[in-house]
Symmetry: C3
Subunit: 349 residues, 3 copies
């Protein structure tokens, strides 16, 4: 996919690694152990898998610090081969931005400020007064509403929607079919049981380096801002209600759902399909197990699971006992019976 | 966002409220207590938050009936300030429909009947024999199939899909990326384990004043109609299977899923991520807790939760005991041991 | 919807059935008992519903083998009337492919190989080097990336996205808004807690006769292939993580979610909203109850439910006892008290 060549010393420098073997060797790609071929760099995550490294056809390897020098092999020793591998792989794939301009079959509204160095695909629709920074790439079929601002180096993939007034930061990736700025879900109910829509007059703000997954939906605030802070990574089919705040570097795995006005701190992680009710606060580094439902505020670093979510240790223990409920029930019945018999015997005496 | 001015007496009349203070004052906007500025109306939901009202910069307030006159403040007393606020806020935001016509870069099929007073955006595709009523607004990228009917004052937002034959009522809002009329999921399996698609020849019918959330999917009926009745409000990423019926004013919060042929009565509420199996009936005013799974018919007004869902009181109690399972298990073990000891003692005697 | 006529003998032959009554009769449509009219064929699934057959206006019936001849009625006896009905209904609806060509308002990239016998709708965007087979139908607003291959007789519905490099088989149906080939969700985290995107350089491969539901998302592999094998049927709003493999004829009901690298065998069935963690293996014919969460490998034919999923029999029993937890807890308390009393009595003696 690319013909870039980089030498081992240069790559080691990029990730703070130390080289043993041929530091002057050049490699031209990065791949996992079983897929890498000659001329490529690969990586070993754990010492226990050393045999897979020996079987690999790669020419050089990122390895953890506890791997010793190996004769005839070129190694870059690093603290975290996963992280170093991601950094190096990105470096191999990086290409200068190729500005294709605005496709003649895109539609651009009035009073927009669009950097000349952009790629805007066919059948993109851009509203009025939209600002688009340098090196932004917008794929086919994307719809962008009025008064949207999009920062530099952001990528918006096919058929995503960015509704009016949304503020999108730099180096953001919005995947296919995602909807940013749909109306929040708020109603007041009258005496006949009919629901009157409460206007949703706020916006969505997405900060730098955020990823938004395919077909994910992020509602605009009722008033104010629904805010996804920098570095947060959001997977596919996630729902974020109005006025939520997602803290820096938080991770929401696929199909997570947050009701309105819930606040997540920094580096919170919610596993797939987890949910949180509205108006609660999950403080920094809270971890929520997949499939859990959070009903209450959580302190910094809490690790929780279950429905409603409780400390993960408790949940794991209780969940493992769940299967014993029939036995426990029959034990209790038997105990009651035996105890009654015993009481009878004693009372007789 | 608007420069409309309305006076307090007029607004009070709109919501059946009584004024104390300056009934002739004019206000030009509506916002919550902390956000409202001079010249704006705000609202207090509960008496306990009266200090927030005192701190607010708003010029007048919707308040509940248990708030007494306050010197120097202009109040509109109403039964439900939430509801009154929604009605008034909508009044402030209401603007005459501005018909932009059919954008030259929209594509319209043959034999359509489209009211002259509509706004159909660029890159909209409309099939053949489509009927569109007055004051309908269709945003960029929407795809509408053949033989669709869309009632007056309906709004269809960017990149939504309305598949062939769907009937959409008046004052409906269909949010971005929603899919109305995808095929139902029905198969018959042959002896080799291969699945033969069962044709899905029905339609979807959406009645007046329904809201459909972003990226929500509503399947067409196998035969007949999948039917969302008037006033129902459906949030984002909801799945409604073929032949379901959603009763008037029912509310489905985000990520709810209904299997096929399930019938919901009027004013049913299903919390976020709740699910219902197919072919069951949830009668009027049933409330299902977020994250629950409903397996059985439910009588009018039932309040349920859990998986499978049981009466919410029972579920809440049992869920709170779940964390005690390890303790209960060890108690039972100890009881068995102690009882055995005791039996031994007695038998010895 | 069509004016095709077929005679009973011909239809019986198509499904291996035996006729009693008028084998020469012609019928011109297929519908369920309550909807069918004169001149149409209907079907009875179970003998117990025979009265509905008697009340039907249909002219002939598919019936199971345990239904005897009925005077004055034309019956086709088959092993599985559901399956036979699906086959016959499809036969009635089948029409020769009508190639409408490439709409002038579609956009096609360079170096594509597109069969002349296709229907590509308005506002479709097709990338470069795309291959499209005979009788493929692509609806409005679909975005297809570079280097995609699409096999014969495949249908791609409105606003779906097929990202670059995806391989789509023959007779596949991809419903509205589905996203094939979004990036997998993979990051490495640095010492500051920032997440570095791991490049997702693999593809998605969809084999023949697969159905993909509306707004479903299937992520491309990190390396290699995310693979949906032939005959698999996937419902709406399903999430499939990178490097998953879905075996032949497996069924994933709406809102199912699979984390990365999970492997499903043949004819696996996952009920609505079920989830599976990553890197596990569900062997052939595993059945997962709706709403369950699978944490471990499962052997062939396992039937499981719950969170985490356990054998369905155990889960059903335990779930039915869940409501008794408060009673069990108070029983245990009472037992402890009573036993202590008894111990006291005995010790006194």
């Amino acid at each position: 996919m690319n013909s870039k060549e980089m030498n081992i010393a240069e790559l080691a420098g990029m990730v703070g690694g130390t080289v043993s073997g041929d530091a002057g060797m050049t490699v031209r790609g990065f791949a996992p152990l079983e897929a890498a071929g000659p001329g490529e760099l690969s990586f070993l995550v754990r010492k226990s898998r050393i045999e897979e490294l020996r079987a690999s056809k790669a020419s050089a390897f990122l390895v953890p610090l506890d791997i010793e020098e190996m004769p005839n092999l070129t190694l870059i020793r690093v603290k975290d081969p996963n992280l170093a591998g991601a950094i190096i792989h990105n470096a191999f794939l990086a290409t200068p931005f190729e500005a294709k301009g605005i496709h003649p079959r895109a539609h651009v509204g009035s009073d927009c400020r669009i950097n000349h160095e952009v790629s805007i695909g066919p059948l993109v629709v851009i509203g009025d007064r939209v600002t688009i920074g340098a090196r932004v790439s917008i794929e086919a079929g994307v719809a962008i509403g009025d008064d949207v601002e999009i920062g530099e180096d952001t990528v918006i993939k096919a058929n995503a929607v960015i509704a009016y007034g949304s503020l999108i930061g730099k180096r953001v990736i919005i995947h296919q079919g995602a909807v940013i700025g749909s109306d929040g879900f708020g109603f007041a109910t009258d005496e006949r049981g009919c629901h009157v829509k409460r206007p949703q007059v706020g916006i969505v703000r997405i900060d730098d380096e955020v990823d938004i997954g395919a077909n994910t939906t992020i509602d605009r605030a009722a008033y104010g801002v629904t805010w996804v802070k920098s570095g947060a990574k959001i997977d596919n089919l996630v729902q974020i209600g109005h006025n939520c705040v997602i803290g820096e570097n938080s991770i929401l795995v696929a199909q997570v759902g947050l009701a309105g006005s819930t606040i997540l701190g920094r580096n919170v992680v919610m596993g797939g399909k987890a949910g949180a009710k509205g108006h609660i606060h999950l403080d920094d580094r809270v971890m929520v197990a997949a499939g859990s439902g959070v009903h209450d505020d959580q302190p910094k670093g809490a690790m929780i699971g279950g429905y409603p979510a409780i400390p993960i240790r408790n949940w794991t223990k209780s969940a493992s006992i769940f299967v014993k409920l029939p036995e426990m029930l029959s034990d209790i019945k038997r105990l009651k019976k035996d105890l009654a018999l015993l009481q009878g015997k004693i009372d007789e005496e």
